[in-house]
């Protein structure tokens, strides 16, 4: 992934490692921190594979910096990657589902409270997102909207889990 992220940044303009890190992180509203060491090691691999060429540029009083340029082969690799659809990411909170099934079968804990705690966790995550849903930065806002929709889907599915496996605390207590 990082490999193509770097190629994508270099397709806009030649840049050195730290510049790539800064521009990439800014593009995603600083939500996606990238390790500078990883950038350097990935650049070295890209250079070895002929996807970028790097050139030492000397600076006054500062160490030399390596400015990298994407090659034709690099551009072709980027285009191929961009054109591949991303795999569907239906993250059904597998860890939660496993807990639910095991709780149901083992009777080790109360299913109702398991579901309610999960609901509260998801709602808190939705609440944490709210400031970003009206962010000025369009790329950040769109990302937050995507996460919001995912969490909504998780919550709806939780409602289904509740219908099948458990009732709300109150009606449970009354039963």
């Amino acid at each position: 992934m990082l490999k193509f992220a770097i190629l994508g940044m270099l397709a806009q303009a030649p840049a050195y490692g730290y510049e790539i890190k800064r521009a990439f992180e800014a593009m995603l509203g600083h939500t996606w921190p990238v390790n500078i060491g990883q950038i350097y090691s990935t650049l070295a691999r890209l250079e070895r594979d002929g996807l970028v060429t790097c050139e030492e540029v000397s600076q006054e009083l500062l160490p030399n910096r390596k400015v990298c340029t994407i090659t034709e082969a690099g551009r072709a690799a980027l285009v191929e990657w961009l054109q591949q659809p991303a795999a569907p990411s239906a993250r059904l909170r597998v860890d939660f589902y496993l807990k639910l099934l095991l709780a149901y079968r083992s009777h080790a804990v109360d299913l109702t409270s398991l579901i309610w705690q999960q609901r509260q966790t998801l709602l808190q995550a939705l609440a944490d997102l709210t400031p970003l849903l009206t962010a000025q930065d369009e790329s950040l806002r769109l990302l937050a909207e995507g996460l919001q929709l995912h969490l909504e889907a998780d919550l709806r599915w939780l409602d289904r889990c509740e219908e099948v496996f458990g009732a709300s605390p109150e009606s449970d207590a009354e039963a």
């Binding site: 509203g29 509260q120 808190q124 944490d128 009206t134 990302l143 919001q148 969490l151």
Partner: protein
Amino acid sequence: MSILETRNVHKVYRSDGVAVHALRGVELALQSGEFVAVMGPSGCGKSTLLHLLAGLDSPTEGEVVLDGHRLNDLNESRRAILRRRTVGFVFQAYNLIPNLTVADNVDLPGLLAGRPPAEVARRREELLEALGLADKGRAFPHQLSGGQQQRVAIARALINAPTVLLADEPTGNLDSRSGNEVLALLRRFNADGQTILLVTHDPKVASFAQRIIFMRDGRFVSEMEMAGGGDPTRVIAKLVEVEQ
């Protein structure tokens, strides 16, 4: 201090001899300055509750105390006066009057409450400004988008500086982006001290509140306080899966 309270409120509707229990003993205490969402599936009684809170309908049993007044003790005309002074209402449908301008729609409840026109106009200007509609005063509702119309409805609901703003699925007719904008505005009014109670089936909407009360089958079954002030970028970093 509690500005809106219900004590053991029940509501039973009867039709053709069949009793439908819409509310089964609701205990609510809304504090001044709160932003509360009552969340539940359709048919759980949340809209009925909102009508009782606004004094638009009476409980079968129990009582509603609005701004220190027991609604049961008031006759309809006194209740209407209290409602005008203390409650702002925002519905799913914007319910603007089509042949009045935005400014006139917003002013109407203020003038009906007998407040001086100049004061009403000043308050309207402030509200339209805060809602990003400063240049829309002369427009007619049909010239505005859904999100803009709902923001006009919010200005109208706030023109009398109500003790509490009640909202019933306020973003139900809006696309998610305009909905988020409307909710962010409600949150900003809340930050300035406006007490808000909204009812919704939608967790995306409820997540803008400080406190969520969960409703099922006519009663409150659980509630949660939202933790605020998290670093949103860290939240995203946690939620986004980066494929390395």
